[in-house]
């Protein structure tokens, strides 16, 4: 039998700190949705028509949360908060999949979704406390100009399977391959996922969290840093920097 290197006990990988991480500065985020568009372009995410999207069937891997509290005129808006898969170290989506479609990769320390293996029980999505997984309800139309802009590095998913943010694993692999061919380590900032690349305010920063000198490690040490739903013990790899309105925005 093949050896899959899947640890028998989840705690075996819980202790690891992870390799790739992200930090998102909510003080910088303007809610422009450029990351959402870039992610859709990069990852072959189909466009869902307005009616379906309004019913909660949009397929975006990243969403900008922005909510209002209170009655007019005393309205408080929350910060813009881009939310995507947190690439948990102890991911609730992984153990519940009956067919190992949702697995933890040992080499990149990321949560993978194996599209070919997924049978669409959608248990992973129910168990994701961040609600970041999306389900392909149908084979979506890609009218003519759109059909010419597929990213060849990313699988086009069919109906009936789950998908989610991959931290642009195709770009990570490209960066790793390039560094390996040049016989060096990956430089900080060499691998940039589509959302971070498109962010006009540089609110999204991507890098190695196992390197204490990297930009995101420095950012994560900022006093404003917090993790989403930290109390659940999912060990998310994304650090959010709380909005303190220090960049000239007024309430």
């Amino acid at each position: 039998m093949a050896n899959h290197n899947i640890p028998e006990v989840k705690a075996d990988w819980e202790a690891t700190t992870g390799i790739w991480g992200m930090s998102i500065d909510m003080d910088m985020c303007t809610g422009c949705q450029a990351c959402v568009a870039a992610c859709a372009m990069e990852n072959n995410i189909p466009f869902v028509e307005e009616k379906d999207a309004g019913y909660g069937r949009s397929l975006h891997w990243i969403r900008i949360e922005h909510t209002w509290q209170g009655e007019y005129p005393d309205v408080n808006a929350t910060s813009f908060e881009p939310i995507m898969c947190q690439q948990c170290g102890n991911a609730p989506c992984e153990p519940v999949c009956p067919v190992f479609a949702s697995v933890h990769s040992q080499s990149e320390e990321l949560n993978l979704q194996v599209y070919n293996r997924c049978v669409g029980t959608r248990y992973c999505a129910n168990n994701c406390p961040y609600v970041t997984r999306v389900f392909n309800m149908r084979d979506y139309d890609r009218p003519d100009p759109l059909s010419n802009q597929f990213n060849p590095d990313v699988t086009v998913r069919r109906r009936g399977i789950m998908e989610k943010c991959t931290f642009c694993i195709q770009r990570i692999h490209k960066g790793e391959d390039l560094a390996k061919s040049e016989g060096r380590d990956i430089r900080d900032g060499e691998v940039v996922p589509a959302c971070a690349q498109a962010c006009p305010a540089d609110a999204i920063v991507f890098g190695r969290i196992d390197d204490p000198a990297s930009k995101i490690s420095v950012m994560a040490k900022n006093g404003r840093g917090f993790k989403l739903l930290d109390s659940l013990g999912t060990l998310p790899r994304i650090t959010y920097l709380k909005e303190e309105k220090t960049y000239g925005r007024t309430g």
Binding site: G56, T67, V131
Partner: protein
């Protein structure tokens, strides 16, 4: 004195007739005290299978058309178009399909409960309707299995859930509650089918000796050459006893594992340690009500069934329904109380949404129909024995139990820890597919009632032989001799 002297001659015959009336009443009341010769009962059961009116075939063909349209066309549509024709969305990834799965597994529980648990405890009233209840187990599980397959995004790959050797060296993930569920339901389906079959063998042999043509061929194959010798009976009794004890833990484990699909997930409202027994009791609540409904339909529509199924049986099931309703209320209160007292903010939002959200009427009617209604009605012996009333109560309890599962699955999924994603659930093709499973269940049951003797004649006869009415002084006393 004269009055007394006049009264005296009447006293004797009057008291005699009262005694006679009392005995006649006991015999009319209890099937076990109203024995008929085995041959007559055999003929009655065979007759009930063969007497098929035109109404039966009209209803059966309407149901068959519904099954073809709903399960053939609409399921095919959903497979070819994708889940977009169903009502699921983000965050409500599980909808009515899983509501139906839990519902049908619940229905299937009563069969095992009635036949195995009551057999183990030697409850005599079970005898005429064990088979009718066991058939519900098997056909209910078929609907539950179909509902699981309906809910899968890529149902054509469902065989990947089976642990089978393959060139990739891949097994299902045994960490997943869905894998446990899959194995538990399969175990239950197989063991309950065997448990249905074992007590059926003597009746199949009885039918084999009394039929001709294709039926004879069918029964000859199914009866496995049973002739009724002493050694065959010994082996059969041993096997049935073994199965009756062995299937009880399977029954409890199946619905516990179904509840773990929810309880093991880290969601507010789902992550509850009491879900296991709560689901088992809920299953019995809907299952027993369904048994009552089926018995009333059989009694009203099948020939000779008024002899076998009597008000005493409705009475007994009504009592069980009342007790189970109390147990359900206890577990509901326990589950609610602990979650509410825990004070978790998301659970608070969820409980408020259950009670005051757009489906608050469902929550209220669940409590009224599941608790208030049976508690008010089933206390009364005359109402319990009334088929119309008991059927209505059973029907409403089943509605309420379906609501309960609806509240646990799609309604609870509306609420998660990210209010930005809250959505409501609007069922789509689920409606047609639910109607399809219900129609398939009734259709399978109707067709089976033409082929399978619905009353275990040997079991009734065994009971009648064991029971006797004896007279101690002036009192009639029912005695039961120990059979084993």
């Amino acid at each position: 004195m004269a009055v007394l002297a006049n009264a005296a001659p009447h006293a004797q015959p009057h008291s005699n007739s009262a005694e006679h009336d009392h005995e006649a009443h006991l015999r009319e009341e209890h099937l076990m005290l109203d024995p008929r010769p085995r041959g007559e009962m055999n003929a009655m059961v065979m007759d009930s299978m063969h007497a098929t009116g035109w109404k039966f075939w009209v209803i059966a063909s309407i149901l068959a058309v519904i099954v073809v349209i709903c399960l053939g066309y609409y399921w095919g549509l959903m497979i070819s178009e994708g889940m977009v024709v169903a009502g699921i969305n983000r965050p409500i990834y599980w909808g009515i399909f899983l509501v139906n799965t839990v519902f049908w597994i619940g229905i299937s529980h009563a069969g095992t409960f009635v036949s195995a648990l009551l057999r183990v405890f030697k409850a005599e009233f079970r005898r005429p309707f064990t088979r009718a209840a066991e058939l519900m187990t098997t056909f209910g599980l078929v609907q539950a299995g179909l509902s699981i397959f309906m809910h899968m995004g890529r149902v054509w790959l469902a065989f990947w859930l089976f642990p089978y050797p393959n060139e990739r060296g891949l097994w299902p993930n045994f960490h997943s509650p869905l894998s446990w569920d899959f194995l538990a339901i399969n175990t239950y389906l197989m063991s309950s089918t065997m448990y249905l079959f074992l007590p059926l063998i003597p009746d199949l042999a009885m039918a084999r000796d009394r039929s001709t043509g294709w039926r004879k061929v069918l029964y000859r194959i199914l009866a496995l050459g049973f002739r009724g010798t002493e050694s065959e009976w010994t082996h059969l009794r041993f096997a049935m006893n073994l199965f009756a004890f062995a299937i009880l833990p399977v029954m409890f484990s199946v619905h516990t594992i179904v509840s773990w699909d929810f309880a093991a997930a880290m969601r507010p409202g789902w992550n509850s340690t009491i879900f296991g027994p709560y689901f088992v009791v809920g299953a019995l609540q809907s299952g027993l009500s369904a048994v009552a409904m089926v018995l009333i339909v059989i009694r009203g529509n099948m020939k000779n069934m008024k002899y076998f199924i009597r008000p005493e049986h409705l009475d007994a099931i009504g009592k069980l329904m009342l007790i189970i309703s109390m147990a359900w209320a206890y577990f509901f209160f326990n589950d609610y109380m602990v979650q509410w007292y825990g004070g978790d903010s998301w659970t608070k939002v969820l409980l408020k949404f259950h009670e005051e959200g757009p489906l608050g009427w469902m929550w209220m009617s669940m409590l009224i129909l599941n608790v208030a209604l049976p508690w008010l009605i089933l206390w009364n012996k005359n109402w319990r024995r009334n088929p119309v009333i008991l059927f209505t109560v059973g029907f409403l309890i089943n509605i309420a139990m379906w609501f309960e599962r609806y509240i646990i699955i799609p309604t609870s999924l509306s609420i998660n820890r990210f209010p930005f994603t809250y959505q409501l659930y609007k069922p789509g093709v689920e409606v047609q597919l639910s109607i399809g499973t219900l129609a398939l269940f009734i259709l399978l049951y109707m067709l089976a009632s033409r082929i399978i003797p619905l009353v275990p004649v040997w079991e009734v006869q065994e009971g009648q032989m064991a029971h006797s009415l004896r007279k101690f002084g002036k009192e009639h006393v029912v005695t039961v001799s120990d059979l084993e």
